[in-house]
Assembly symmetry: C2
């Protein structure tokens, strides 16, 4: 209970330098004198418990002073290293009280994500090791190449495997072209994978890779007597403009996106964002990147929390050791940790607001990750339109979107993530996959069933990306028990005299999810997930107010049910999971994915717990508890690479749309002004702009645009002859086509 | 053979006024003195035969003078009315030779699309008729309302029904608010449907509509003794800004999209368009709207023709006469005929090129439909990106798109269609559904299984929109026999010691389509349609060069297999059809959809013909002929309306992507310049623009952005304190986060 006149700081405010330092110092102090070294992995805010935060939010939105002051807790994750043995430890620190309130020590098999420092370490020790040098003697590499290693997670353990914290490296050569460190080494993979013990810093072994093609063995052939000559083809795999084997296009004219009157959004303190009736708090975590808290529209809550939770990238090459090639880019890496420092005019166009975040360096001290999130408005074409055919009056408004974007680089690969709020009350969740596909060597001239040859000697392996988005709804209420999840489907009704005499009728079926479960997308019945408030009805339709989305029926994980790949990511085997809410449960594949053999504490475990969402549980659900439903939407892409994905792949875009369903009493974008944009210009045939006087206002000539033009000369049309009419009215243009409005103008409308 | 020095006019050049008049005059001349009246329906270019056009295109692209001069033929479709009986007739006129070369008279049951003139006629005769007046006596309507009728296609005939050309009307009242003709009458439906014989101009009957709710009869109740009072609730259904029940938003700041150096595309004569290595000829037909002919990239053909072919909108309300409520917006209406006259700065933002078209009025004389297509470039976010984690060097390019857009109004409803070419060699086909949902009356206070109450007394019926896109490929060759269609799928391999010892392997299966067939989308196996050139291999991968798309597994038509709705549109029952090419076969549901009982000459008939695509047909295909494969992609939306879809629905967007698959030897967008856009600006927290000096160049402060800001005051942050760093380098900012590049900078890379 705070009684002073200072406003209570918002529990979702971002971490500060001072808080981070304070938490770190308290941890250092606690462990001082133990004879241990501390290796800091990450420091971030411990999110408030839902019950406490909900109470706060209700008061906040009611304009009241929240009664409870939520303790400010910070999580410090670190290795406590004694006698060379690291103990992964988590201390939750109350930075205001100045005390450690909770300590967790994790079992040795729990491997948290790698840090940048570990990556650097791996590289140095590996290249200096005799084991690596010996392995490299198998190959002869042209003199103008240098060795480069991409450190990678060791991946999932085989059932019989029991190893400490390992890291492996994908080995490449880089052409020393112009001494340019941005030459693309991924064009020159070398068929070995060194493995290191991260605790002892010892090289464990060097795995050798099979390099055969169709019909060849799954296993590597023994080394030949003399070094194998690599990289003799001389072709270019470069993408950096100064190294490119072709000139850059010179005919891409700039598109400028400007907001001369400023943007329509506001960013307040404590990362409160307001835009076009939307309001949310932006969060950012080392693992998830940007997250949206307390998403409201016009003062009504919709989502308590929206986040990307996990993504796994299983590779479909059956040759060992590629069964271990399965990245968990959130659990093994961390999208927030890997977030790009975004650049104005490159990553984001227009009027942009950037957000930075405080992170811990290996000593646990604060650093700033600059511009990890960008926010801006954009135009996405027509939002709604209707033309009255009687009067020819068109009312047209644009679809305006507010984009929250962040980008992560995971070694070779890039992901662009975005949440897009729009003026029609919708939320689009978008992923773009780009970057460089992961490649392995293949013998010259061979092709493979396991991937595509995208460059001489380079096999881009077939793989999948399977994303999980966590949606914690608060549909028009912060109460945990008011939200229901309903599956709505459209089914045919067999033709029958009583209810469907002509066979055109179909039926909408609804089924409320009563207990934790999973299911799949089913477009055959248009399966739609509705998140509804069971107590609030739409005054027009009488139905529960809600938001809905249609899960995309993208391909699920292909790996065999009994494989380690599948066991590590059961979430990737179904499109939709509905689980009972528990504080701190944010991870679709569980907290520790790195070197896991199977999921622990992910959505599968949550479902097995048997929580229920109705007042009276069914018998089978009795072991869990009455819970608030959390929805996990799983989608992905099967990526059998194209040559066009080389050397950097064009974005592959996936989206799903969370849209209001009887949440409002009419189109929420109805009050969008249909104002004509005054800077748009008419172009003549040849890309040249018309003189301003003819910009749609004074035009009216019906001659000489391409479709009515008559001379088949093959030459460009003289731009001076091209003044296309735009919006010409009947008065201005007697040769306007016979439209309905004209017909109706001829008649006298009945009155 | 042309031997003069004049270049041969391009066979895909648009129709001219003169050609249209000439064709019409020749038809009038032919029928003069027959004692007949001619009612002109449409006049358009008769597209050249594929064989002839192909020969021309090959010569054109080789820079040679085409040997054959293709006859210039124009189709004139008209009613030849004798003694009040119309005979639908098509004359193909050679406008250069000045002769009619072909005449087709259609059987009486073939009903072509309605013209605007017919719509106007219906309205006048109906409201003046005693039959309509008597029917209206059942209702009492407030004095400030006037009657308005939307003419509609009569729809599919029931099996036993045999009627001449009919039209029906949906009857509404319109509030005479401010005498504004744009008041929304759709909020006030009246439960009768008048039906007229279009030949005799006689009213046939007035159907009465059931207005009950859940559990009520499928059939209308008999009229009560005294008139039923309608529209007493007084609520507003308006969308026109001047009539709106709420103020327009005033905080939507403009987004200006400008191209100060002009656009990057060129439109030449004979509607040749060039943009960023793309080249195509734009066509426009009364039925399809815009179509793309001869789509090439970097001189290599990809698609011979790309078009929207049909869309059916079946309604799922089983109550008669709604079994007939099934629009075919291409066959019954015509997207080109219904195309909007687009407005600069409203329908299209930026630097826009408009295209108009010549159409025939009811007298067969030329009119111009202004600005029916707009073309422009747009930015669609990041196109490809890679950051080298060692150097922190990001190379990022934008995804530039070229949009060909057209919009059609079909009474209450709008569709926005677009083809989008992009810099990565991709083609996106997009539809946006908007406009006013079709509604019927429902008794006050009732709800229905057949739709949603979106306004008092107004039921928006459940329905579907099912689109067919016709793709005629010419993959790297104009030769008809070189293109193959292949289904490629990714399948799990059961775990087994020999080929998949760890269970992570999966298999890519290919099956060439050998004869005409249909199938469905199957995301479970990632079913992908590849259009390949069987003779041209990608020099890198060794695979056939190709383009591919993944058919979306959207819900197919729900109507019972034995229903008239299903019989009229078999195409809507499967996602993918592959048929043998024949000239003039462009229509998924056949040429005549209006009042059809079943498809004739649509994709079902084409498949049944049994054409084959390989040199040696299988036994079952022997009845057809060796053909070039044409691909039809079917997708749609099941639209069970939301209250948010009222009064004008926010766009519902559907897309599919035709993308290169080993067509190129690397990412075709590799040469896109990653030039920084100089007009993008930084925003402080409050939507205000930073002063230009701080635009990303001189910034470096790491303080005081929302996520690092520390004072929880609840007030806005002072914008002066907010100068977010952007692109700060290590030199400029010592508190940059611990990134890999820093780690690697610490180490000396092995050489």
């Amino acid at each position: 209970m705070t009684s002073d006149s200072q406003p209570t700081p918002h529990p979702l405010r971002p971490l500060t330098d001072e808080e981070l330092s304070r938490a770190r110092d308290l941890v250092v102090e606690k462990h001082a004198g133990d004879g241990v070294a501390l290796f800091f992995r990450s420091v971030y805010v411990d999110e408030p418990k839902r019950e406490e935060l909900t109470e706060y939010l209700i008061a906040e939105h009611a304009g009241q002073t929240p009664k409870t002051r939520i303790p400010r807790q910070v999580t410090v994750l670190f290795d406590r290293v004694k006698d060379g043995v690291p103990q992964l430890t988590e201390e939750i620190v109350d930075v205001e009280a100045g005390e450690i309130c909770r300590t967790k020590e994790f079992p040795a098999y729990c491997q948290t994500s790698y840090t940048a420092a570990e990556f650097g370490l791996f590289h140095d020790i590996c290249v200096a090791s005799d084991m690596f040098k010996t392995a490299m003697e198998e190959f002869s590499i042209p003199e103008d190449f240098t060795i480069t290693i991409d450190p990678w997670p060791y991946g999932g353990l085989d059932p019989e495997e029991d190893v400490p914290r390992y890291m492996q490296g994908l080995v490449y050569a880089r052409k020393k072209t112009d001494n340019n460190p941005d030459a693309n080494h991924y064009g020159y993979p070398i068929p070995i994978i060194p493995v290191m013990d991260m605790a002892t810093k010892n090289m464990i072994r060097v795995d050798r890779l099979a390099t055969g093609g169709k019909g060849d063995s799954l296993y590597p052939s023994p080394p030949s007597d003399k070094p194998k000559e690599l990289f003799t083809h001389g072709q270019s795999a470069e993408y950096a403009p100064e190294l490119l084997d072709r000139p850059l296009r010179t005919d891409v004219k700039p598109i400028d996106i400007t907001q001369p009157e400023g943007a329509s959004f506001k960013v307040h303190s404590d990362n409160l964002v307001e835009w076009q009736k939307w309001r949310f708090r932006l969060g950012f975590t080392p693992r998830e990147g940007a997250i949206l808290h307390d998403v409201c529209y016009d003062g009504r809550p919709i989502l308590y929390r929206l986040s990307f939770s996990e993504m796994t990238v299983p590779y479909g090459d059956p040759r060992p050791p590629f069964q271990r090639k399965q990245a968990f880019d959130f659990g093994d890496g961390g999208i927030g940790r890997a977030a790009n420092n975004l650049k104005l005019g490159c990553d984001c166009l227009g009027a942009i607001h950037y957000v930075s975040t405080v992170v811990a360096n290996p000593e646990g001290k604060p650093d700033v990750a600059q511009n990890v999130v960008c926010m801006h408005e954009q135009d996405n074409g027509i939002g709604w339109k209707h033309t009255n055919f009687r009067t020819d009056r068109a009312v047209v408004t644009r679809l305006r979107e507010f984009v929250i974007q962040f980008i992560a680089t995971l070694a070779n690969y890039e992901y662009v993530f975005a949440f897009k709020l729009d003026t029609a009350g919708g939320i689009t969740v978008e992923t773009r996959a780009t970057g460089i596909v992961s490649v392995v060597p293949i013998d010259d001239g061979k092709v493979s069933d396991y991937g595509n040859v995208v460059f001489p000697g380079v096999l881009a392996q077939n793989h999948q990306h399977i994303f999980a988005v966590r949606i914690d709804p608060s549909i028009d209420s912060y109460s945990e028990s008011e939200t229901a999840v309903v599956l709505e489907e459209s089914h045919p009704i067999p033709m029958n005299k009583e209810t469907n005499p002509f066979g055109n009728g179909y039926e909408v079926r609804r089924e409320r999810i009563e207990s934790a479960m999973y299911t799949d997308a089913e477009p055959k019945v248009n399966r739609t997930v509705k998140m509804e408030n069971v107590n609030k009805k739409n005054p027009i339709s009488g139905k529960n107010v809600g938001y809905k989305f249609v899960p995309n029926a993208t391909q699920l994980m292909l790996a065999d049910e009994n494989s380690t790949q599948a066991a590590r990511a059961p979430y990737a085997k179904h499109h939709l999971w509905v689980t009972g809410y528990r504080d701190e449960e944010l991870w679709a594949a569980g907290e520790f994915t790195n070197q896991s053999k199977k999921e622990e504490g992910g959505v599968k475990a949550m479902v097995e717990r048997g929580d229920w969402f109705v007042d009276t549980p069914s018998a089978s659900s009795e072991k869990g508890q009455r819970s608030h439903p959390v929805v996990w939407n799983v989608f992905g892409l099967t990526h059998n690479p194209r040559v066009e994905d080389w050397p950097v792949m064009p974005v592959e875009i996936h989206q799903f749309h969370i849209r209001p369903a009887d949440f409002f009493t009419s189109n929420p974008a109805l009050d969008m002004p249909g104002k004509k944009n005054e800077t748009s210009v008419l172009l003549s045939c040849c890309g040249k702009t018309e003189s301003p006087q003819t910009n749609g206002e004074k035009s009216g000539s019906t001659q000489a645009d391409p479709l009515t033009h008559q001379q088949g000369t093959g030459d460009d049309i003289d731009p001076k002859k091209l003044q296309n009419g735009n919006g010409a009215t009947d008065k201005e243009n007697k040769r306007k086509s016979t439209t309905l409005s004209k017909i109706f103008a001829w008649k006298k409308e009945s009155t």
